[in-house]
Symmetry: C2
Subunit: 283 residues, 2 copies
Amino acid sequence: MSSARKRLRVPAGTAVAFQGELGAFSQRAVYQIFGHNIRPTPCVTFDEAFEKVARRKVPLAVIAIENSLAGSIHQNFDLLTKHSVEAIGETYVRIEHHLIAHPDALLTAIRQIYSHPVALAQCQKFLRKMRRAEKVSFYDTAGSVKYIREQELRTAAAIASADAARIYKMKVLRRSIEDNRENYTRFLAVALRGKYPQGGGKTTVVFGLKNEPGALFKALSVFALRNIDLTKIESRPIHGKPWEYLFYLDLQSDIRSRACSNALRHLREMTLYFRVLGSYPTY
Amino acid sequence: MSSARKRLRVPAGTAVAFQGELGAFSQRAVYQIFGHNIRPTPCVTFDEAFEKVARRKVPLAVIAIENSLAGSIHQNFDLLTKHSVEAIGETYVRIEHHLIAHPDALLTAIRQIYSHPVALAQCQKFLRKMRRAEKVSFYDTAGSVKYIREQELRTAAAIASADAARIYKMKVLRRSIEDNRENYTRFLAVALRGKYPQGGGKTTVVFGLKNEPGALFKALSVFALRNIDLTKIESRPIHGKPWEYLFYLDLQSDIRSRACSNALRHLREMTLYFRVLGSYPTY
């Protein structure tokens, strides 16, 4: 996260949409990809962030796609395919959860703990010790800090990032309360298709196959035969075709290379539906 | 659903756990697999249903594993692997959502609509027309009918099954309000490992691979080379090993066949972790 780190260069002040309130982990991802010289634009839902890009209200969005503990955010795979956007970069954010409260609050006086349900689930060991506090699901981690600040609650706390505590001028009551420290979220930067140059160490594709034995095996062969490494496979249902799927693959390969572009040409030949969702660097 | 349909025979009165209240779609799945001569045992969470089987409180549970629109219920893949259980049968339930209310209620007077968030999401077209009604997320479809009955609410309605309306003596205000009629949920019957005979048209396995290029391709080759059809692939994160996955495969194959047992022996050879989650018939 040093300033020497490679960034995706965009004009100063460019609006970048993300899901959550200021101080959300997504905002950190925005800064990791674009640096601090942009305008982070909070959205209530992922849908809203995608829509803003698709309708040209903002040029860019940063979207959480997978957490190393909770798994894929499947909804966002569906939204990537629904909208005419493409990925232009990825980044990984270490998720460190803190218990955050009003500067005057005392740990022993806390009776409600607000956070996003995934964050609550990732701090179960700590929460079990807080027996007298009710756990309350909220739409966003940073949003729960903001809410407690706005309502000036002294007996409520939130689970969120250190950034959220700083932004809303709140106190960290207990640091690093997550059960598992190997907690990372992967984010994609997305833009309207064709607006930014494509290419980088990772390529993501989505495709649908004929419903016949060995179809997926044959699809993967185009990469295996070229020693292209697959870092991730995900499947999502096709609406209206029960038990048929769209497959999402992440390849450790640059679409500008001959092997990758040939492999994709070969894959397209054997699919009913095919789209490159992006070829991009890691920031 | 005729009585001539094949059932999994268990002693009369056997307890079968399922997630949800009486009248949940899961209860219908219980009857489809075991017939009506069993004792359906409601559980608040999926975790509770699995725990009941693992701790020998009940011999059987029926668990929703995938919906044709919403996709896999990933949590239940994790729970299948966590507990020492195995699948002994599967069934498919057509999901038909109805708007259900107190017998004295009027459609125009409805101000809240309660249901499970997935059911709310699957009735968006209808809900958009009910502009004056607030949508309220509830833990269970049938549970929301039960709640409205218990509270004797006249201005609230629930989205749930016809069974739930019948059980709680409530009225169907509007039939089949789901956006997409191709809405099915697949359920697995699970028992403690080794308690019921294994074998049937479908086999489910879970495995972890070495992190090397072509690993998944080689794993799938054991089935492709034997013309064993893969009906489903799912990946889930391994906790503590960011960006490594467990893969779940459904095979159209009976573990008692030579091809299937050889393929699985071959697969086991190339995996770091391997387990058969069940080989079972469809009811």
